[in-house]
Symmetry: C2
Subunit: 138 residues, 2 copies
Amino acid sequence: MFEIIRRIGAITRLMQIDSNQHFKALGLNNNLFIYIIRVVEQPGMFLAELADSVQIDRTTSFRTVKKLVAAGYLTLQNDELNLKIKRIYPTEKAQLLYPQLHAYEMAKSQDLLVNLTTAEQAQLKRLLRKLQVNGQKV
Amino acid sequence: MFEIIRRIGAITRLMQIDSNQHFKALGLNNNLFIYIIRVVEQPGMFLAELADSVQIDRTTSFRTVKKLVAAGYLTLQNDELNLKIKRIYPTEKAQLLYPQLHAYEMAKSQDLLVNLTTAEQAQLKRLLRKLQVNGQKV
DNA sequence: CCTCCTTTATTGCAAATACAATTATAGCAT
DNA sequence: ATGCTATAATTGTATTTGCAATAAAGGAGG
């Protein structure tokens, strides 16, 4: 009955454990790598936007960004038109790291899907698109 | 490319945010309700077994169980044959709460799957079963 | 223009989290 | 038996997390 909902949670938690351990050597545990990936892929988001993008609490996201700024991966920049927001950009250090993060995500994705044919992957993608949380499209 | 892996993570994080908010009123935030559900459904697991079952760090799981024991939801019992392990059982308080937790999980599951036909749900279940994390079946 | 409501960023603080280390027991191989 | 290795529970500790509250700015309506 709850197989779908529970399995989705289990997959996420197992992957989180793995990624945290994997990136600890780089000092990038606790989902830090997710932030870098998102900012490199979509530079210029403001803080609340990024938090929504990664589905993480805003204060947590805020502090994580602050940490990544201190570590030299990201920079914050005031928006000229809207004084309320600060936009986030990757530094060169982040750009240089990105391929490694991308390769990790790729490897994890391939591992996850290794037992599915191309058609099955497309089918799974299609079905996941139809899922919703709290009445909202994900 | 990463749509599957990212969407699975997004769904889990959104549901976790919702469940934490929902159960806060009962003093059961932070996945506490997951522990109660698992122990009611499968009483007698020992601590490490439960931790693996919910895919959560063992020390975190240990402290959470301790908290739930203090709150009167769970009891710990030494195993007579194996002195190394302590088995976990639900109290009556947990049993009485279970229907409510079950109803919540049911409602969330139905919301998640509302746009899928029965055939699509079966298909999704089948595909999720074929996924693996770190080379291991989930 | 002024007031009210919303959005964004930020800080305080208490609780949760997880790595590392420790202790105790079990099980296996000599 | 004895030692070695693995597993389970537990604690110490530093970091992370997230709710609540605050401040500043934007936006909508009269």
